[in-house]
C-alpha cells in the first residue's frame, strides 16, 4: 500500500495517476490524500512525466475527471484512479457506457453536482458597480459568491464571454477570478468583507422581483428546490421572500372580493374598425382543431 499526497487539483492528480499507471500499481494499493496546504494559484504545468507510456483513455473520461476533481469529496481521487485503471488495464474500455456501474454512477453524480454548482454560480452571482477605470473608461464590478465546491476556474470562462465589455472580479473564500478586458486571471480567496454589500440598482431589482411575483400561485417549495436557502444571504432580492409569502393570501382574497367590471364599448379607432372589417363575413373560416369523431 502506498499513500499519494497531492494538491487537490486535476493536473496534480493526472500527473500522479500517470506515474502510478506506468508502474502498473493497481488501485487497491493506493491511498490518496489531499495536501493540507492550499493549492498554488496557477495549475501546475505538465512536466516531463512519462506521457508516452500512458494508454489512451476516452476524451469523455478526461472531461469527467476534470469536473470531478473540483468536488470536495475526499474519495474522488481513488474512484477516478480505479475507473482509469479499469479503462486501461481492466479490459473495460467500454466502462463509461455502463451508467449502472457503481464507480461510473458515482463519478457521474459528482460531475452532476459540479455542473449544478457552476450553473448556480452563473445564476446567482450579483455584480456590484464599484467605479470606473479612469484610463479606459470601463465600468468596474465586483461580486461575492460562496460556491459549494472548488469551481471558480471552471465557471469563470462564462463571465469572460458574457461580460467582456466591463471590468469585473468574482471573489470567493477559496479563489477569485478577475477580468480587465484582456486577461482572465486568478488570485487566492478573500474574506467576505473584501466585497461590497450592495448596489444602487438593488432597489429597482427588488421592485421588479416584487412585481413579477404572482400571489395567486404560491409555490414555495418549487422556489426553494431551485434556489435553496443557502444562496439567499448573497441575493439582494431574498429578504423580500418572507413578506411576499405572508401577503399573498390577503392579496388573492382581495381579488376574489373585487366586484366584476363590465366591458367598455370599443373606442373610436380606425385600427379597431379595420380589424372588424377583417372579421366580416366572407373571410375564410378559421381553422378549428380536429374534433374527436
Amino acid at each position: 500500500m502506498r499513500t499519494v499526497v497531492i494538491q487537490p487539483v486535476f493536473e496534480e492528480w493526472r500527473k500522479s495517476a500517470r506515474e502510478l499507471l506506468a508502474l502498473r500499481v493497481p488501485p487497491d494499493e493506493v491511498l490518496w490524500s489531499d495536501d493540507a496546504q492550499e493549492p498554488g494559484l496557477f495549475a501546475p504545468t505538465d512536466d516531463a512525466s512519462p506521457r508516452a507510456a500512458v494508454p489512451k483513455v476516452p476524451p469523455a473520461f478526461l472531461d469527467l475527471a476534470r469536473s470531478v476533481a473540483a468536488h470536495c469529496d475526499a474519495r474522488r481521487w481513488g474512484v477516478l484512479y480505479r475507473v482509469l485503471w479499469r479503462l486501461t488495464h481492466g479490459g473495460e474500455s467500454h466502462l463509461l457506457a455502463v451508467a449502472t456501474d457503481v464507480d461510473v454512477r458515482q463519478l457521474q453524480q459528482w460531475c452532476k453536482a459540479i455542473g449544478r454548482d457552476i450553473h448556480k454560480m452563473h445564476a446567482f452571482v450579483r455584480f456590484r458597480l464599484v467605479g470606473r477605470d479612469e484610463a479606459t473608461g470601463r465600468e468596474q464590478f465586483v461580486a461575492w459568491f460562496e460556491p459549494g465546491h472548488r469551481i471558480v476556474h471552471l465557471a469563470a470562462g462564462f463571465f469572460e464571454k458574457r461580460f467582456a465589455g466591463m471590468d469585473w472580479s468574482v471573489l470567493t473564500p477559496h479563489e477569485c477570478a478577475h477580468w480587465d478586458g484582456n486577461v482572465l486571471h486568478f488570485t487566492p480567496g478573500v474574506p467576505r468583507s473584501a466585497a461590497p454589500d450592495d448596489d444602487a440598482l438593488d432597489d429597482l431589482w427588488r421592485t421588479y422581483y416584487r412585481s413579477i411575483f404572482n400571489p395567486a400561485r404560491l409555490k414555495v417549495r418549487a422556489m426553494q428546490s431551485e434556489m435553496p436557502k443557502k444562496y439567499w444571504k448573497n441575493l439582494p432580492e431574498a429578504p423580500l421572500i418572507a413578506e411576499l409569502i405572508a401577503e399573498s393570501s390577503g392579496r388573492v382574497e382581495k381579488m376574489l372580493r373585487t366586484g366584476l367590471r363590465p366591458p367598455k364599448p370599443a373606442p373610436n379607432n380606425a385600427y379597431l374598425d379595420s380589424l372588424r372589417d377583417l372579421d366580416a363575413p366572407g373571410q375564410p373560416p378559421p381553422d378549428e382543431p380536429p374534433q374527436t369523431p
Partner: protein
Amino acid sequence: MDLQHKLEILADAAKYDASCASSGAARKDSRGGAGVGSTGGAGICHSYAPDGRCISLLKVLLTNACLYDCHYCINRRSSNVQRARFTPDEVVRLTLDFYKRNYIEGLFLSSGIIRSADHTMELVIAVARMLREEHHFRGYIHLKTIPEASTALIEMAGRYADRISINIELPTQQGLARLAPEKNLARTQAAMGHIRGKIDERHGEKRKPDAPKPPPFATGQSTQMLVGADDSTDAVILRRADLLYSDYRLRRVYYSGFSPIPDPSSLLPIRPPPLVREHRLYQADWLLRFYGFKVDEITTDAAPNLDLDLDPKLAWALRNRAIFPADVNKASREILLRVPGLGVRNVERILGARRYTRLRLADLLRLRVPMKKVLPFIIAADHTPARLGLDDESLRARFLPPPRQEELDFDASQPVRGDIGSVRSGEL
C-alpha cells in the same frame, strides 16, 4: 411618474406571460465587441419568485395601455388598472443595468396595443434596435409580436430578437370570439406560418452552399395558451398544441392556468387557478415532444380531460396494460419510453448499459428509478412482476396519491419553465 413606479406597473402587467426561456439562441458573446452579453448556452434562471417561477428575463410591457378587450387580461381596455408607459430609452437602460449586475439573461418585451398593431410593433422594435445597434448588446431578446402587424415589421423584430412569440391565448376561435374579440385564430396561425418560413429560411439546412445567407432571424418561436378561462377540454388544448408543433414548428407551447387577476371582467368571473391541470398538460406536452406519443393516445373520447390524480403516462399505461411488462434487457427504446417511471435519460442509460451487462433491480435503483412505480411494468434479470399485478383492476388505486392532510400542494413535481429545468421535469 418615476422609473420605479413605472417598473412596478409594467412588470406587474407582464407577469401573466409564463414564457421565460432563455435557451436555444444562436451562440454569440461579447468578446471583441463594445458591450456585454452572451447567448447560446442552456439558459439560466437568475432567481425564483415564491410562485415557483423562474426569473430569467426582464419581462415588462412597454405600455399597459391597450385598445383590445381580452377579458382574461388585467390590461384590457375595460380594466381600470393604473396605466404607465416606458420610453424606449428607459427600457434600454433598465435592461443593460440589470444585465451588468447579472440579475437577468436579457429582455422579454411585450406591449399593450396602442394606436395600431404596426405603431406598437415599431415601438417594440425601436428598443431592440437600440440595444443591439447602439449598445452592442448580445444578450437574449424575446419580442412579443402582433399577428396583425405588417410582415416587414415582424421580419425586423425577428432580426433583432433571439426568440419571437405570438400568444394563441385560447385553443378555439369560439373561445377567442367570446373572450378576446379583437384576436383571431386564423390570423395568428397565418403569422406563425410566416415566422416559421423566416426561421427555416435562415436556419434550415436546405440552402444551397453558394446561395447568399438570408438576413439574421430569431432561432425560434413560442406561444402561450390559457387553461381554464374557457371550457375547452384537455383534448382540444393538446390537439391545438400538437398542430402548432407539427405545422408551425414552435419551440414551446406554454400553458398558463387562468389565475385570479385584480379587477376581473364580468364576462369571466375568476376562480382559483387549476394549477395541477396546468402541470398535467405540461407532462402531456412532454409525452408528445420527447416520448413518441401521438396526441390521440393521451386522452380518450370517454375522458377528454387528463386524470388529475395520475400523470398522463401512467394513466396511458394503465389503459394499455397488454403491452407490459417490458423487459429492460430487451425492449426497444420506443417501449421503454412508455414505461411509467422511466425518463428519457434513464432510457438512454439503460440502452447503453445493457450492451455490456444484464440489468438487475439494483442497477435501476442506482439510476434512481422510482421503483414502486416501475416494478409492475418491467422485467429485469432478477424480477418478473406478479401476474396479478397487471391484471388487477385495483391497480389504479395503488398509484393514487394518499389522501391529502393539508392544502393542495403540487410543488414537488411542478415543471420548471426554463429549458434547462424542463429537461429535468421531462423525466416523468
